[in-house]
Structure formats: C-alpha cells, structure tokens
C-alpha cells in the first residue's frame, strides 16, 4: 500500500467517523463508506458489492432517542480493507464486520464520555460570553469521533491485522467499558435535572409526574404523548380560574356599560 493510499484512508475514515456521530450526510453507512474505501484501495467493484451487502444487514441499525446503534462506520472501513487488501471473501468480510461494529460501539461510548468535558468547557466559555470559544469547542468535539474511526482503521491498513485491533480493544478492562456503557444509559439525568430546575414551577410539577407514570405504562409514540400533553395544557389553561377572571372582566365590560370603577381602571 502506498503512502498516498494510507493518507487517503486516514482522511476518508475521519470523514466516516464524523459522519457516524453526525448522522446527517450518511457517509458512515456501508453503502457509501465501503464504496469510497474500495475506490481508494483500487478495487471499486468489490467495495461496491461489499457496501451493498453490508448495507442490507445494517438496515435496522439506527440511533433512536438517546440510544446508539452498532457502529457501521468502523465495521465498513475495516471490513473493506480486509476484503480487498487481505484478499478475503465478501462473506468473511461480513463475518469480521459484525464484531468490529460491536467494538466500535464501545469506542463510541468513550468518545461520548470525553465530549462531556467539551460541554463543561463551553459552560466556562459562556461565563465570558466567548462565542468563538464555544463554537470551536463544539466543532473540535467532532475530531474525537473522527479519530475514533480513523486511528483503528489506519492501524489495520498498515498492519492488515484485525486481530491486533481486536486484541487492543479487548485489552480494555471489561469493568470500565461495561461500566461506561451502563453509565451512558443514565448519565443524562444530570441534563434532565438542570433543565427541570430551570423550568420547574412547583405547582405544575404534578404534570411532570403524570408524564412519568403514563410514559412508563403506555406504549405510545412520543408524538401521541405530545398530543396528550398539549390537551392537558389547553384544558389546564381553559379551566384555570386565574385566566377565567381576565375573560370574565372583559365580558362584563363589553356587556354592561355601567361597570364598576375597578374595571374601568384596568383599561
């Protein structure tokens, strides 16, 4: 493999890694990631077929809510190298892609943990109303995700040994990776708590508990919950005596000319 190819692999896998967290341009989907990898490695036809095959397997890999899917980015880049440079069959490439996708998920957990630090650095920057710093922090967090894919991919490209990468990943203590994954499921409560403290009106908190209980028992889509919440909000406002008074006074004013002096003062 030429130096140019290795550089191109590093650049493309960085784009793939960024794409996998952004989930905007879809460069992390096997269909695109494998095809371009195939171009770089000089066997576009094989890359294309691998991409198509892997894409069909990964159709259901999606990020829903705050949950994360198996990592199609690392799986695509590494399996393409193995098939084209390592001379493996497409079937073998798929077989290796699946455990790599799981390993990539572990690395994503690390990346999303590291970016918590970026969030807090941004809070510091906000103390000085430093717009530039906040923007830079936001966009530089993308490098964490880019390197997450490009470093292992380039290592595989240079040594063509997925076993080595897998061994490296396995060397991470299971307690730490498993623990971070577990914590990743609930660390967001700090975020919830912050926003709730900002929103919280004590006498309206029952609606929070109502949402919690209904959310736990009803298997409805979030849209349906949105509609329910909206209906509660409308009913609450309509029945609230605080607002009823306003409309009543205006009704009295319009109906009776000889209204009380109090009412006229309000005009």
């Amino acid at each position: 493999m030429s130096i140019l190819q290795i550089i191109l692999i590093f650049i493309w896998s960085s784009i793939v890694g960024s794409g996998s967290v952004l989930d905007e341009f879809q460069t992390h989907r096997p269909l695109i990631a494998c095809s371009v990898m195939g171009l770089i490695l000089g066997d576009p036809a094989k890359g294309l077929v691998l991409g198509g095959t892997l894409e069909l397997i990964a159709l259901g890999w999606m990020n829903i809510g705050a949950a994360q899917s198996p990592d199609s980015a690392l799986a695509s880049t590494i399996s393409t190298i193995l098939v084209i440079v390592g001379g493996q069959s497409i079937g073998k490439g798929i077989a290796i892609a699946l455990p790599v996708a799981a390993a990539g998920q572990v690395l994503t957990v690390f990346a999303r943990t590291i970016t918590v630090a970026f969030q807090h650095a941004a809070l510091k920057a906000a103390d000085n109303a430093n717009f530039k710093a906040i923007e830079i922090l936001h966009f530089s967090a993308l490098f964490v995700q880019a390197l997450r894919v490009s470093v292992p991919t380039t290592l595989v490209a240079v040594f063509v040994s997925p076993d080595m990468v897998k061994a490296l990943l396995d060397a991470l203590p299971k307690v730490v990776t498993g623990g971070l994954t577990v914590a990743g499921g609930f660390i967001v409560v700090v975020g919830y708590a912050m926003i709730l403290n900002m929103m919280s009106v004590k006498y309206l908190m029952p609606f929070f508990y109502l949402g919690f209980v209904l959310g736990g028992y009803l298997k409805l889509s979030l849209l349906a919950f949105g509609v329910i919440g909206l209906i509660f909000a409308i009913i609450y406002v309509q029945l609230n005596p605080k607002f009823a008074n306003i409309t009543k006074t205006s009704a009295i004013e319009s109906n009776q000319d000889g209204s009380l002096a109090d009412d006229e003062l309000e005009d």
Binding site: L22, E24, L31, I32, S35, L48, G51, G52, E55, M62, N63, A66, R112, V116, Q119, L123, A126, I134, H138, F139, A141, V175, G178, G179, L180, T181, V182, A183, F186, I187, V189, V190, G191, Y192, A193, M194, L196, M198, M199, S200, L204, F207, G211, F212, V213, L214, G215, G216, Y217, L223, A224, F225, G226, G229, F232, A233, I234, V237, K242, I246
Partner: protein, 276 residues
C-alpha cells in the same frame, strides 16, 4: 446604546444558523446530548439581539442545556427559539422557563415523528434501493442514496427553520397581555409533561440483582430487583436519580462532580453485577 434596528435577524444570521444545524451532533455527549450544539445554533441570534454582556451570558447558558431531537427535525425548534429570544430582547415578558418549556415540549413530539420517519422509513427504503443497485455493480446505488437522503434532509432543515422562525415571530407579535401568561403556563404544563415521559423513556437503568430464587416442580423462578421495581412503577430508578440530581444542583453542587459520581456508580455497579 446601539440602534434598535441592529437587533433584526438578517438573512446571513439565518443562513449561518442553517449551516450550524448540519452539525447538530458534532459534540454529542452523554450529559446534555445536543446541548452544546443547540447553544451554537443560537449564537448568531444571541450575537444579533443581545448587546450587553450580561444578557449574552444568560442567553448562552440558557441554551447549554439538555436537548435532543432527530437531527433532521431540529429546524422548527431552533426557529421558534430564535423568535422567542428576539421577542425577549425587544422587551416582551417571555421568561426563561417559557423558552425551556417550549423547547422540551416540541422536542419530544418531533423526535417521536422524526425517528420513525427518518431512520425507520426514509433511510431503509433509500438504502435498500441503493444496496440492490450496488449489488448489481452500479454506482447509481450509493449516489442515489446519498443525494436523495441529503436532499430530503436539507429541505427539512431549511424549511423547518423558516417555518419555526416565521411562526415564532408571528406568535411573539400577537402576544397581548392576555395571551402571554396563558402561553407561559400552557408551555410549562406541556414541557413538564413531556419531560416526565422522557425521563422514563430515554433513560436506561437495569438492576438485575437477584432478590429471590425459588424452585418449584423443577422450574427455577428468579426474581430480580428490577422486576420488583417494574411492578411498582416502571422507570422508578430514573425518576429517583433525576430528583436526586435536582436536589444536589439546587444545593450548588458542581455538575462535574455529579457526572463523575454517576460514571463511578456505573463502573462500580457493573463491577459488582448490580447494574447491567
């Protein structure tokens, strides 16, 4: 004091917001998900409508909070928030709580539409079409997938942003003394309700600790702590942790300490086999 005209959002501000919106998940983090991203989305607006440092600091911090929605569907929320900030800077009585509540109230339902539509429908259809073409060796496969998906996504972002902004500005304009308290109160009800739903739906805590294990007629029935909790009410640990965090934050405990404590809890709990 600067001229009041300067606080009008320009085309350039809106376009810059649109560009930023395409990097909605760049700083995806476990604590606030898109929190930092939303703040960046609001920077062009904050820079335009607020002229004093204190106001800018407050506005930035207001938007460095938890936010999460299907990326393609963030436009309407960003747009309406821009309009609310503009209204607030013009002296309308729109308080922080109303802005937060509307954000939360919109993000839940929009994610509810966006996730199944983008990830469950549009992408699988386009990807399956692209993949079948690719398997026949055609480069139209990846090309069609890339262009079609991004075409839909970009229009959703652009028109969503315009829609949110225009509707929001009309809303702020129409706010008479009578409507505003209603909006504030109604938004809080909706926002708190959705937040309650999200606490139980978007948090994952599993406690597979075996409490009892009974063997009857050769069948072993184990009861885990999680099952007992689920029988009481699903999602109780998530609610408990959220309330605990609210309490600690009110006691002015640094959120960084709370984050580390929770990561520690995850690792220790996983190590002891209490959490999974």
């Amino acid at each position: 004091m600067e001229n009041k005209k300067d606080t009008k959002l320009t085309k350039k501000d809106i376009f810059q917001t649109f560009i930023f919106e395409n990097f909605q998940q760049a700083s995806f983090n476990f604590e606030t998900i898109h929190g930092l991203a939303f703040c960046v989305d609001m920077i062009p607006t904050i820079r335009r409508v607020y002229k004093t440092k204190e106001e800018r600091i407050k506005a930035l911090k207001r938007h460095l909070t938890f936010f999460n929605v299907t990326p393609a569907f963030c436009g309407p929320i960003v747009g309406i928030t821009m309009a609310l900030e503009k209204g607030r800077s013009d002296g309308e009585k729109i308080d922080e709580g109303t802005i937060q509540s509307l954000k939360v109230g919109l993000m839940g339902p929009l994610a509810g539409v966006g996730d199944p539509l983008m990830w469950g429908t549009l992408r699988p259809i386009l990807a399956a079409l692209g993949a079948s073409l690719a398997l026949q060796g055609s480069w139209f496969g990846p090309l069609i997938f890339f262009l079609a998906f991004n075409g839909v996504r970009l229009s959703l972002k652009w028109y969503g942003l315009q829609l949110g902004l225009n509707r929001g500005l009309a809303l702020v304009k129409d706010i008479s003394g009578n409507l505003l308290p209603k909006l504030t109160e109604g938004a809080s009800v909706l926002g708190l309700f959705i937040m309650g739903v999200l606490v139980t739906k978007w948090t994952t805590i599993n406690i597979p600790l075996v409490v009892s294990s009974t063997t009857t007629a050769g069948k072993t029935t184990t009861t885990t702590f999680q099952q007992i909790l689920d029988q009481l009410c699903p999602g109780l640990p998530a609610l408990g942790l959220t309330l605990l965090m609210m309490y600690f934050l009110k006691k002015k405990i640094n959120p960084i300490i709370l984050i580390f404590a929770l990561f520690g809890l995850g690792i220790i709990g996983y190590g002891l086999g209490i959490l999974k």
